[in-house]
């Protein structure tokens, strides 16, 4: 029995052909396929995982995958830790939750209903109404979403609330806030975030991340294209859930009428693009929902809850 691996590999024409085949396959796959797709195909070409050439190609793919993962995707655990910390700042800035537990439950039911129809339906979301006189709503990374009492009181029906909550959920699904501060390179050298991270040398990095997020969400605002994207995603999410997506437009029009007299700083007025352009884009998108007017608005239920606060 030969134990010389080289002699086994240096076979006849059949072995040459097989090797050429595998090499060419690997090359083509490198050029054409996504990493995930390619890994599935490897199993078909070489189910017993015997080819060393193919193994090399596979390793390249796996390595590329994890490099991509570390630069693009912060793990959920870390994302949520950031969100919680930002939420603590949010309460300090915008006030504590309103005391009506039934109303808080109501807003979570609307929010959870729309979140189930979003692009990240499997993470938990948390919604809270805080006692702020500003017309405001914002989303912390990881899914903790704030809405001000003033904004809720200014709405007319549940479809409007559903659209605002959908807008905020969209910021979470698109990871807008995180992407914005990633540009400022706060995350360089930071891995998974744990309590130990905060206690160690990287503790200041974490605080800088939260500070950066406060600046973006409470003062400067996100990139205007992210806001437009969230408006349109909101209409889509509301529509999928079964609410009238026109609610988004009605809220923006309501804000337009109040703009002149309302306080701007720290509210949707200062952190978001001009209302007129948002409304225009939403109206254009509304054409894609020809039966929108027949979808749910649920005015009665909303009014009965609004009366409580």
């Amino acid at each position: 029995m030969s134990t010389d691996h080289r002699s086994r590999r240096a076979g006849g024409p059949a072995d040459h052909r097989r090797r050429d085949l595998l090499k060419a396959s690997g090359l083509l796959l490198t050029l054409l396929a996504t990493p995930a797709f390619a890994l599935d195909l490897f199993k078909i070409i070489d189910p017993a995982n015997k080819s060393k050439d193919l193994q090399k190609t596979k390793d390249i793919f796996k390595g590329a995958g994890s490099i991509l993962a570390s630069t693009q995707e912060l793990d959920y655990h870390s994302e949520f830790a950031i969100g919680e910390s930002l939420a603590l700042e949010g309460f300090q800035r915008y006030g504590l939750p309103i005391e009506d537990a039934e109303f808080q439950r109501y807003i979570n039911l609307v929010g959870d209903a729309v979140a189930r129809h979003s692009d990240r339906p499997k993470i938990p979301y948390y919604f809270v109404v805080v006692s702020s006189p500003l017309y405001n709503a914002f989303a912390c990374p990881g899914g903790i979403i704030f809405v001000s009492e003033a904004l809720v009181k200014a709405m007319q029906d549940e479809s409007e609330l559903a659209c605002v909550l959908s807008h905020e959920v969209s910021h979470v699904t698109h990871k807008h806030a995180l992407k914005t501060i990633r540009r400022a390179k706060f995350f360089e050298g930071l891995g998974t975030i744990t309590a130990a991270t905060l206690k160690g040398r990287d503790g200041q990095k974490f605080k800088n991340i939260i500070g950066g997020l406060q600046s973006v969400l409470f003062e400067k605002g996100l990139d205007k294209n992210m806001e437009y994207e969230a408006d349109l995603s909101a209409m889509e999410i509301a529509y999928r859930t079964g609410y009238d997506p026109n609610g988004m437009i009605k809220v923006l029009e309501m804000l337009q009428t109040r703009e002149k007299t309302a306080q701007k700083s720290g509210s949707w007025f200062s952190t978001h693009p001009p209302l007129a352009s948002r409304i225009e884009k939403c109206r254009a998108r509304r054409r894609q929902y020809p039966d929108a007017a027949s979808l749910a608005r649920v005015k009665q239920r909303f009014i009965s809850y609004r009366k409580r606060i």
Binding site: K23, Y76, D119, P124
Partner: protein, 177 residues
């Protein structure tokens, strides 16, 4: 020329494989489950019997569309109806779906909004702030009232049945009539 043959054979082989492994349906016939908690119904109605639970990402063959409902066939061959808002013409983003699917999987049947993802990590408590948030609060001197507020927000849980009941009462989506 003889040396080209293996390359040409390989190219043909790979292309054939890609066609074989490509999804069976054409773009016009395929739908993907995009919403959490989707249930395939025996008839075109929310009150009809459930045929199967449909996980996010499952590929469906579209058979017909009628009044906001699709009639579809699922991979095991069963057919039924699904409300249009629960499906998408494009598959969900694979990376995110896989990562967050595993969160749901770790928690048994309770997924999504009904439970915090970090309950799978035994070093954390079900209610309340994470150790990270507590440490942040300690370092920043966050007022107790704000920590308490976050604690309460995170403790509020809704369940799948409650959400569906809420939609039903509001005649929303598949419950509209």
């Amino acid at each position: 020329m003889a040396r080209m043959r293996p390359i040409i054979t390989a190219a043909g082989f790979v292309i054939a494989l890609m066609l074989l492994t490509a999804t069976a349906s054409s773009a016009a016939d395929a739908l993907w489950v995009s919403s959490e908690g989707a249930i395939l119904k025996a008839q075109r109605s929310s009150t009809a019997a459930g045929v199967a639970d449909l996980p996010v990402g499952m590929e469906l063959i579209r058979l017909e569309y009628e009044k906001r409902w699709y009639r579809v066939r699922i991979p095991d061959g069963r057919e039924g109806w699904i409300y249009r808002g629960k499906v998408s013409e494009t598959p969900p983003a694979k990376e995110t779906a896989a990562q967050e699917d595993s969160l749901g999987g770790l928690l048994g049947g309770l997924t999504g909004s009904s439970i915090r993802a970090d309950t799978a990590d035994t070093s954390r408590s079900i209610r309340g702030l994470s150790p990270e948030a507590r440490e942040y609060a300690r370092q920043k001197g966050t007022p107790e009232s704000c920590q308490q507020a976050l604690d309460e927000v995170l403790a509020l849980k809704t369940g799948s049945a409650e959400i569906e009941g809420f939609l039903r009462e509001g005649h929303i989506g598949e419950y509209a009539e």
